[in-house]
């Protein structure tokens, strides 16, 4: 259990340094480090499905970020940070912690979830078909509309990016 807390502390430190550092390339690499720590944490919590998806999506994200932020040479951020944003963040954090306190107290204990719906899945999923991987069975059979919505969102993003690119070329002509 203590390894998980070490990973969590590493992730928090990495996120804070990624916000504060001046070099953009170092910031992107620190975001990648946080993703790898999250992936190791998923493996420790016995969720290899999530760990694989998290690792691949994180690599994609870091590649796109490097390509988008750093084109030729490394840029530095020179602007000063405003003091008003700092006060607004502190007020927002205070309100959030005030409301989150009641919610966290009513949650079930870590490691002992309430198995209302999952119990049915665990009993019946293996009998109906020959799908051994239960995660695949749940996300593609019981929760098919969820996956369908996610795929529609991705497809809409592709069409939107293509439409914006085409409009830019028409303006140039």
């Amino acid at each position: 259990m203590i390894e998980l807390y070490i990973l969590l502390i590493l992730m928090i430190i990495g996120s804070i340094i990624a916000l504060e550092v001046r070099d953009l390339l170092s910031s992107v690499i620190l975001v990648g480090t946080v993703g790898v720590c999250l992936s190791i944490g998923f493996i420790m919590l016995k969720a290899p499905d999530l760990a694989m998806t998290q690792l691949i999506v994180q690599i994609l994200l870091v590649l796109i970020l490097i390509r988008a932020t750093i084109s030729k040479d490394v840029r530095f951020i020179n602007s000063k940070k405003e003091f008003g944003i700092f006060i607004i963040v502190i007020i927002g954090l205070a309100v959030f912690i005030n409301f989150a306190d009641e919610v966290v107290n009513n949650l079930p204990i870590f490691g002992k979830p309430i198995m209302w719906v999952s119990q049915t899945y665990l009993k019946n999923a293996l009998n109906s078909t020959d799908v051994v991987n239960l995660v695949s069975k749940i996300s593609l059979d019981y929760r098919i509309f969820d996956t369908f919505g996610a795929m529609i969102a991705l497809f809409t993003a592709v069409i939107g990016v293509l439409a914006i690119g085409r409009q830019r070329s028409q303006e140039k002509d």
Partner: protein, 158 residues
Amino acid sequence: MSVEKRQYYFDQSKGMGIIVKTVTRLTVGIVFLFGINVALKGHLVPGGGVAGGGAIALALLSLILAFGKETALKNINRKRITMIATLGMMMFLFLGLIGLIGGNLFSTHFMDNEGKFGILKANIIPLFNIAICLLVGSGVYTIFITLIMLQVRKGSDK
């Protein structure tokens, strides 16, 4: 290797250096096959369509980053890759809609899987995985090459 290919391979102005080009040429096929493997075995081992499609998109993106965009876009242009993304989405939709025949629910298992073996044993779930893999792989690649073209066009205006 022919003379023009050799000249291109040692050309430093297109793409990255020769070490990155050599390593990419060796690893890109392995990453591509790993993505197909993860997508096809999604009903047996951890993985699935999203992870497999992401790995395939990663292989294509590393080709662009190492060899420059002219080489990659010569073989896989935008119209062809958009057709593959649309094919994945339509395959997902129609696999769900076939289940509606006969008054059943959306994405009912319509195939008879008695006596089958291998990938056919697990009804339509591998087909869903293949559709998601096509959509995610080609969709992420399309977004990336469109962003690259926007950046290039913006730079040439100045």
